[in-house]
């Protein structure tokens, strides 16, 4: 089992003929992901990487019945690309694009919430992978391996770092979800934690947060009701307030979003918070043993 994506996921790639889209679509196909359609306005009727390309999402949906979409469209047009997927009622959309205006995301997030038919993951995220079944994103597939650990993270490369250590320690993953580093993500920690709690194959969860916002605190509140153990890691413990650390969402402002607040909330919820990434596999092993 897994969450959100599996071997039956049929992926539409919006912006597939661009440089980024081409490269990653190719990597996904090589990983074994079913990429069924590409969408690039003006390139309909052509074939790219052996996949049919359409002018619009509606045409692609009618012809190929995708049940997920991956968006690589440049930031100025990314919000529109997500809404186009929503208009065709694609149930799951992952938005990789970085640098999307916050007001665009404000519109998109609220529109999707009202419509209730599409779940958005991202933007500014590395995507999602169910090892051995479906890679829908930009992560290096070879470091992941199937197993019982669910992972949810705001950071792409920090996910790779920790997954690499988990895999080396013999701890495979059910699904790894990148929720992204933007201030208004389509999916938040709480929602992914709920899915892992409900997934029978997931035995423990690794949660990787960072400074900024209060989503880790909201996640901690939900964790109090979870039956599965959670190990967390928070990056940016030495970042100064008022400075944006690369990710648009990684900023301590007005006393909000401090690492202390997050660690405190998580520990109060019974979460073991690792001081270093290298401690994560050991803490997960200990948590699994306690459970058995």
């Amino acid at each position: 089992m897994s969450i959100l994506v599996n071997k039956d996921t049929r992926v539409l790639v919006s912006g597939m003929t661009g440089r980024e889209g081409s490269f990653h679509a190719q990597q996904m196909i090589e990983y074994g992901t079913q990429v069924v359609a590409g969408v690039t306005p003006g390139k309909g009727g052509t074939t790219h990487l052996g996949v049919p390309v359409f002018d619009t999402v509606a045409e692609a949906v009618a012809a190929t019945q995708p049940n997920a979409a991956l968006v690589f469209v440049p930031a100025p047009f990314a919000a529109d690309a997500v809404l186009e997927c929503e208009a065709s009622e694609i149930p799951f959309v992952t938005l990789i694009t970085e640098g999307i205006p916050i007001n665009d995301m404000l519109r998109v997030v609220n529109k999707l919430e009202q419509g209730g038919k599409t779940r958005l993951l991202g933007g500014n995220c590395a995507g999602i992978i169910t090892p051995g079944e479906c890679k829908m994103g930009i992560m290096p597939g070879h470091i992941f391996t199937p197993g019982p650990i669910g992972m949810v993270s705001r950071s792409g490369t920090l996910t790779y770092e920790i997954v690499f250590e988990l895999t080396n320690a013999g701890l495979g993953q059910t699904t790894c979800v990148g929720i992204g580093g933007d201030p208004l993500p389509g999916t938040r920690f709480v929602e992914v934690l709920q899915m892992f709690e409900a997934d029978p194959a997931t035995q423990a969860v690794v949660m990787v947060g960072e400074i900024g916002g209060s989503d880790e605190e909201a996640g901690a509140e939900y964790i109090q009701q979870m039956t599965k153990p959670v190990v967390a890691f928070i990056s940016g413990r030495t970042a100064p307030p008022g400075k944006r650390m690369g990710h648009a969402g990684a900023i301590i402002s007005g006393g909000m979003g401090t690492p202390e607040s997050k660690v405190r909330a998580l520990e109060a919820a019974g979460v073991t918070v690792a001081d270093k990434t290298s401690e994560v596999p050991g803490l997960i092993q200990a948590a699994l043993q306690v459970r058995v």
């Binding site: 916050i102 950071s155 960072e210 030495t238 006393g255």
Partner: protein, 383 residues
């Protein structure tokens, strides 16, 4: 990206917000001429994007135009230094503004409530002081009003919030209009913060934005080309300004161990590791995804412009970034820039074996893990 006060006021005036009269001046003659229009009763404010500008001597009140001109003469070209910005910033222009009589000072702001995924208007009768101080001492004095993303704000909601904030009845009508202007300015101009503090109520019954701070969402600058030059002004540090010119995500932190990594989370984590090993990170620097050798070299060059840097830590986990490209960039930087300080590189992920092979036999010290890399650079740099 913060705008200058004069830019903020000009922007708000376009949306119908009352602002004090005044203009920006680049020299004494300019300043004196503007001051004359207001009978010499003006405030001269240095237009530098740094905190603590008043305490640094960048703001002064006058009752005659000649003195305002002389102060401007003195300010232009001067470096202002504050606690918030010890490196300081050079004044290039001043705002010469009309002095207004004030009966009461209120507070208004519009910003994003991330948790609610809605805009929120913050209203307080306690203006003129730092809002964080108000939040701490009198949290009940701040009223928060969320903006419905589909419908915007209705007048009755704003009136209710103003009553709750104890804004005097006489001022409420104008404040309803001002709040609606602020929300439309926020959305149409792609702001990420608008703050009016103080929002002045004058003896003749006018509500005026006596000071204004507007910050524009950097991700939306492609829609607002008019701010092209402000981006560099708004960097509080000359190295951060240089990073903006090079398109590199860089924040100066004041320590002495340079840090380069890929991906914001991994870079922050590398800084944390340096600190845990007893070092002081000099900076945050994210090379970005898929960096080529040329870009890596530019990043190394930027870090070396900081004279305090005694050692460099490079931590790459290659996904879309190829480790061999990173290695080539590091080597060409070392070669061309005559780097003398110790460099520790930990490279893992895509093409890491090729990358490590390229670095073998050079003066770059290899490390297997992030922790090991942090410990090595700290002991080498402080040796």
């Amino acid at each position: 990206m913060k705008l200058h006060e004069y830019q903020s006021k000009d922007l708000l005036a376009r949306y119908g917000v009352n602002v004090p009269g005044g203009r920006v001046a680049h020299d004494a003659a300019d300043a004196q001429a503007i001051a004359d229009e207001f009978g010499g009763k003006v405030v001269v404010k240095a237009q530098v994007l740094m905190g603590g500008r008043g305490k640094a001597g960048g703001v002064k009140l006058f009752d005659n135009a000649a003195a305002a001109g002389a102060f401007t003469q003195e300010l232009i070209g001067k470096r202002l230094v504050s606690i918030q910005n010890p490196a300081g910033m050079v004044v290039e222009k001043v705002l010469v503004g009309e002095l207004i009589d004030i009966d009461e000072e209120y507070y208004l702001s519009v910003l994003l409530d991330r948790a609610a995924a809605q805009l929120v208007v913050m209203i307080s009768k306690e203006g003129g002081m730092d809002i964080e101080e108000v939040a701490e001492k009198h949290p009940e004095a701040i009223v928060r009003l969320h903006v419905d993303p589909a419908w915007g704000l209705s007048d009755f909601e704003i009136r209710a919030a103003l009553a709750q904030a104890n804004i005097p009845k006489a001022a409420r009508g104008q404040m309803v209009a001002m709040i609606k202007s602020l929300v439309s300015a926020y959305l149409r101009e792609d702001a990420d913060l608008i703050e009016i503090n103080p929002c002045a109520w004058t003896p003749d019954g006018k509500l005026i934005a006596a000071d204004a701070k507007v910050s524009i969402d950097e991700n939306a600058l492609f829609r607002h080309k008019e701010y092209g030059d402000t981006a560099e002004d708004s960097a509080e540090d000359p190295l951060e300004a240089e990073a903006t010119r090079r398109g590199i995500a860089y924040v100066r932190l004041g320590g002495d161990i340079g840090v380069i990594g890929n991906g914001a989370g991994l870079v922050m984590c590398s800084m944390d590791e340096v600190t845990a090993a007893g070092g002081r990170p000099a900076n945050f620097l994210d090379v970005g995804g898929g960096a080529q050798a040329e870009r890596v070299k530019s990043c190394v060059e930027l870090i070396l412009m900081d004279p305090n840097v005694k050692g460099l830590l490079i931590n790459i986990f290659g996904g879309i970034t190829r480790c061999d490209e990173v290695a080539k960039g590091i080597l060409s930087a070392l070669d061309e820039l005559n780097v003398q300080i110790p460099v520790v590189a930990r490279i893992e992920g895509t093409a890491s074996e090729e990358g490590r092979a390229l670095l073998q036999g050079t003066r770059i010290v290899p490390a297997q893990t992030m922790q090991e890399a942090a410990q090595k650079i700290v002991s080498l740099a402080y040796a």
